[in-house]
């Protein structure tokens, strides 16, 4: 469990970090280190340099900016999970954060690091997608805002370019809507074999809209648009049938714990369960 040799940089500003990234194109950014360091210890990852973002001030915050909530990229999962602000105005992200790994992982791992890693079984992506969140980045060319739906491009791959650093995640306030994250955790890793995040808005007795993000089933997290479309304007009784389309058109991944077919089945079950919980939490307009 000894990593290969690497050089270590500890910039104090984002500008400095960007310059270092520019001059070390194969360097890896280090945040909480909970994905990168184990991979390095097994020598599955052998980056020549690490740029540690940990000493850059003011990337650890959760703020109300009026129309949305802003979360600094270095905010640990534990802070997201326990944020009173999030619980009140956009609880889905907190619920997802609370289910990540274990206490140690939640204390060290960060939202920016997790999103950049884009592990196919990570919890955050489902919530980020369901919330239509925005990922704010910085590069030499300035600030960019990447919509969640454009961010995840494949297994461990994102829309981030090599010289880009995530600085913030913006989530909309979901006041009035019901949200829920339901997860089937792998007994060894704690990752989501399947994780379904949903935000449901209610109008009278009908479902006005449902946004559903699913992680773990495919190499890339996705929005279950077939289910969303099938539910628009429909009563709660439509949930069971609509949820059967949770993996429509999706090529599922598999391993010795859960085959592709089983994952597709779990996607349906957990979509239904997440929708039912979210609907029960929603306030009718």
């Amino acid at each position: 469990m000894i990593p290969a040799a690497f050089s270590y940089e500890s910039p104090r500003t984002l500008k400095e970090a960007l310059a270092l990234l520019e001059s070390n194109p194969n360097a890896k950014l280090l945040a909480g280190g909970h994905s990168l360091l184990p991979a390095m210890k097994l020598r599955l990852a052998t980056p020549p340099a690490l740029i540690d973002l940990g000493r850059i001030p003011d990337l650890n915050y959760i703020r109300d900016t009026g129309d949305h909530l802003a979360i600094g990229a270095l905010t640990p999962h534990a802070a997201v999970a326990s944020s009173e602000l999030l619980h009140r105005m956009s609880p889905l992200l907190a619920e997802a954060a609370d289910s990540i790994g274990d206490v140690q992982v939640r204390n060290r791992g960060t939202i920016g690091g997790s999103l950049a890693q884009a592990h196919p079984n990570a919890d955050y992506p489902a919530a980020i997608l369901a919330l239509d969140a925005e990922i704010v980045t910085l590069s030499r060319t300035g600030e960019h805002v990447i919509p969640a739906r454009e961010f995840f491009t494949g297994m461990f791959t994102t829309a981030l370019s090599a010289n880009e650093i995530i600085t913030e995640v913006r989530v909309p306030k979901t006041t009035g809507a019901g949200a829920a994250y339901k997860k089937f955790a792998h007994p060894a890793s704690g990752y989501a074999v399947v994780g379904v995040a949903t935000v449901v808005r209610k109008h009278g007795n009908a479902i006005e809209s449902a946004a559903i993000g699913i992680t773990g089933v495919s190499g890339t997290p996705y929005r279950a648009t077939a289910v969303e479309n099938a539910l628009r304007g429909k009563p709660a009784s439509a949930i069971a049938d609509a949820s059967r389309r949770a993996a429509d058109g999706i090529e599922a991944i598999g391993d010795t714990f859960a085959s592709p077919g089983y994952r597709r089945h779990l996607a349906m079950v957990f979509t239904r369960r997440a929708l039912e919980t979210a609907l029960a939490r929603a306030r009718a307009k």
Binding site: M1, I2, A4, A5, L42, R43, D102, F184, H186, P187, A188, S189, T256, F257, A258, S259, Y262, H265, L266, V269
Partner: protein
């Protein structure tokens, strides 16, 4: 849940006597919890070098070439060695002997061929562990991969690829055990229940992996080896044999050992290579196993496939048992590899009267890591199969699983009970522990709720396991390398007591329980007694800690050594008081006559022994006694576990709702520690039932090579345990203790599987193999729920017919 007395034994107040049976907190824990103790990796010797092993990435391959040049060029590298450098170093030993056993040569570093993923092929030594690891990556090995023998049943085919060419077969041995009129039993049977049951391969995964530090002093010509082992003395002997050093020059020390579960009841190649390097290089060398190496190259456990047939009368009476068991041994043998499955044969009748048995165990060589002793070692396999078979028989005969068990238990008056497998159960009352467990679980209510639940589509299940197991290993006649244990008890001149035990506790807590035992006998306090273990230079030759033997065998040695000193101290006390030494009692720091009219201080007697001026004529000075205890039999703890589960039919997940364990390990020295052993044991058995499984793919690659894939049980997976005890003392030793290290693991696993299969019984599901992973359970439910196609029965139904 405190049952008798309070933690830390303040109950008696006077600091005298009656320490046995107290919930005394572990003396070991403060230093361990504070992190101020020393494991192998905490040792830092001047000039110490670091070792890393290069291991095979192939399950089976010919080594075409090895190039160490670039590895040697890494700055800080001191040596890179291959098998040919170890000329004269002996093979990794196996103590297991069986008739016609085929034993492959097992060199510490692979020669010519590699036969499992993780087999060491080279060792690198460097000034620091970074250089060692970097250089290990640079050792160039060219392999010609060969077909891997992975499936133990396919390995039995005539045209199967061979793990060891020279044997011309993958069958290492066939071990039969026959007794009684088996043909008659099956002829007379009203019902025959058949099933194939798998005990999957498990990894022991002790919290601390293995580790070896070795130092050779050329002037003194002494080799000291610190190893994370359960058997320091046996290891010392084996190191001296492997390295060709006089045994008098070798000292083995166990630092703190962070768990073993049997995986460190062994002698590994690394335990020869690291000391060899230290003596050749003249500098201390350290090797600490990584978790990946621990998964690949520390022994695995279980891995048996059993084909069983149970012959029954209509009323549930068991007439006979046939068992054909295939045991996957892996590629080479470790210390006890071939003999572990033979323990399964001894215990396979469980706590039932089965007059006729026909058992055949086939040991099979495969391209995998060796299997060996893992918590329970052959006995959990036996308990699992008999407990499943009895449940299947109950289903078949439409009997309550409680009734079929009661029907076949020997009566309490029938003990010692001779089994048809040839062992003698020392003492038991199986009815009593079962009744207690059923009462605690509220069995009748659970059954009523289950029936109601089924109507609402809820799958509740109740599982029983009534087990007996073999502990206190053991009489030397039945052990590969001596079954006795040693103890030296020395009362020091200040009146403090030093206990030297040949047992080698690595989490069991004998520093506490032996102190309680000795304090109790001497009328002192446990803090007056220090227990020393795991240093071959300090402790008389001993066997070690495994097979739930440390208290029943090692503790008894301590007991007898203490008695020897007590009788000497009585003689001195009587001499000082001018009376006869008969019937003096120890207590309150005094040695007194029974009526307490005359007494002399404990310290006064100790002084007399050491000053040696007032001793009875002819008596030797000093207060030290050694005892080597040879038990007359094993001990046979038993118990009853009841588990209730709910299975989610949509996902196949199992939730354990209630877990009741009533265990009987004879008399108890420290209930707190016994509860701890039961807790941990249940967790490990439950983990076999639900989570753990070492998986090799068809190429022999280890798929579950890390704790991200290998599902160790976690706190969140555990139910609340309800524990209770019955006490049936063992007649095998004067303290009446039996042992408890493995009982929980042995008892719990079948209770969980029985519960899940019981939950799914309305669907016609009879059996699902472990681990009961959600997908497997879900698929079984899917199959059972699928309406049978025209003329085709569902799998569950046809299996039901077959079993009938």
């Amino acid at each position: 849940m405190p049952r008798n007395g309070k933690a830390n034994g303040k109950t008696n107040g006077k600091g005298s006597g009656h320490w046995i049976g107290q919930r005394f907190k572990r003396k070991e824990d403060p230093r361990l919890i504070q992190g101020i103790s020393h494991y192998a990796d905490d040792l830092r010797l001047p000039g110490m070098l670091h070792c890393a092993f290069v291991r095979s990435p192939h399950a089976h391959a010919v080594i075409r070439s090895l190039d160490t040049a670039s590895a040697r060029s890494v700055p800080g590298v001191v040596a890179v060695i291959l098998a040919q450098d170890l000329e004269g170093v002996g093979n990794v030993p196996c103590a297991g002997v069986l008739p016609d056993l085929k034993t492959p040569a097992h060199p510490p570093l692979a020669r010519e061929r590699v036969r499992y993923v993780g087999e060491p092929v080279a060792a690198v030594v460097a000034e620091d562990m970074y250089a060692a690891r970097d250089a290990a990556e640079l050792v160039q090995v060219e392999y010609d991969p060969l077909p891997a023998v992975v499936d133990m049943e396919k390995a039995l085919a005539k045209d199967a690829d061979l793990v060891h060419q020279e044997f011309k077969t993958n069958v290492a041995y066939v071990h039969p055990l026959k007794n009684g009129d088996i043909k008659g039993a099956f002829k007379r049977a009203n019902r025959i229940v058949k099933e194939r049951l798998v005990n999957q391969r498990l990894a022991p995964v002790s919290m601390e992996p293995r580790g070896v530090v070795a130092q050779y002093l050329p002037g003194e010509r002494t080799l000291t080896v610190w190893s994370s082992t359960q058997i320091p003395h046996l290891l010392k002997t084996q190191i001296s044999l492997m390295l060709g050093l006089p045994e008098t020059s070798v000292r083995v020390v166990t630092p703190e050992v962070g768990g073993g579960f049997g995986s460190k009841l062994n002698v590994y190649g690394e335990e020869a290579v690291v000391p060899w390097l230290a003596s050749k290089l003249g500098r201390p060398v350290k090797w600490i196993e990584t978790r990946r190496e621990n998964m690949q190259a520390t022994i695995h456990g279980r891995d048996q496939i059993a084909y069983l047939e149970l012959a029954l009368k209509r009323d549930g009476t068991i007439l006979g048992l046939r068992a054909r068991i295939h045991a996957d041994l892996g590629a080479y043998y470790q210390l006890l590899t071939p003999v572990i499955p033979t323990l399964t044969a001894l215990l396979i009748t469980g706590c039932y009267k089965i007059p006729a048995v026909d058992i055949e165990i086939t040991g099979v060589l495969t391209n995998k890591m060796a299997t060996d002793a893992y918590r329970g070692a052959g006995r959990p396999e036996a308990t699992y199969v008999i407990e499943r078979m009895v449940d299947l028989a109950a289903r078949e005969l439409k009997m309550d699983p409680v009734e079929i068990r009661r029907k076949n238990f020997p009566k309490p008056t029938e003990f010692p009970y001779n089994t048809s497998t040839g062992v003698i159960y020392d003492s038991a009352n199986y009815q009593m522990s079962l009744k207690r467990a059923l009462d605690l679980a509220g069995y009748t209510k659970l059954r009523a709720r289950q029936k109601a639940g089924w109507k609402q589509g809820k799958y509740y299940g109740i599982g029983l396991s009534t087990y007996v197991e073999i502990c206190g290993m053991g009489p030397s006649s039945a052990m590969p390398a001596g079954g006795w244990e040693s103890a030296t008890v020395r009362v020091e001149p200040t009146g403090k007591v030093t206990v030297l035990t040949g047992a080698s506790p690595h989490g069991q807590g004998q520093e506490t329980t032996f102190a309680q035992l000795v304090a109790d006998r001497f009328g002192l306090r446990p803090e007056d007694v220090a227990v020393i273990h795991g240093d071959t230079a300090a402790v008389p030759y001993g066997i070690g800690t495994f097979g739930s033997r440390a208290t029943a065998v090692g503790g008894t040695a301590v007991y007898y050594a203490t008695e020897k000193i007590k009788s000497k101290m009585s003689a001195i006390a009587a001499h000082l008081m001018g009376i006869k030494p008969d019937g003096l009692v120890f207590g309150n720091g005094k040695i007194a006559t029974k009526d307490k009219k005359k007494s002399v201080g404990f310290g006064e007697v100790v002084s007399a022994a050491y000053m040696a001026r007032t001793l009875p004529p002819g008596m030797e000075p000093g207060l030290e006694a050694t005892h080597f205890f040879e038990p007359s039999n094993f001990t046979y703890p038993f118990g009853a576990h009841v588990c209730s589960v709910e299975v989610d039919p949509e996902t196949g997940e199992t939730k354990i709702e209630k877990y009741v364990a009533v265990d009987d390990c004879g008399n108890v020295i420290n209930p707190l520690l016994v509860d701890g052993q039961i807790h941990g044991g249940i967790v490990q058995g439950l983990a076999q039932a639900l989570y753990e499984e070492v998986i090799y793919n068809e190429d022999g690659q280890l798929v579950t090579g890390s704790l991200m894939d290998y599902a160790l049980p976690k706190a969140v997976h555990q139910p609340q345990f309800v524990l209770d005890r019955t006490v049936t003392p063992s007649p095998v030793n004067p303290m009446g203790v039996k042992g408890v290290g493995e009982a929980g693991t042995i008892g719990s696993c079948p209770a969980v599987v029985n519960a899940v299969c019981d939950a799914l019984s309305p669907l016609g599901i009879k059996h699902i193999d472990m681990p009961l992973k959600p997908e497997k359970v879900w698929r079984a439910i899917q199959k059972a729920q699928t309406p049978p196609a025209a003329g085709k029965r569902s799998r569950a139904q046809s299996r039901a017919r077959r079993t009938a």
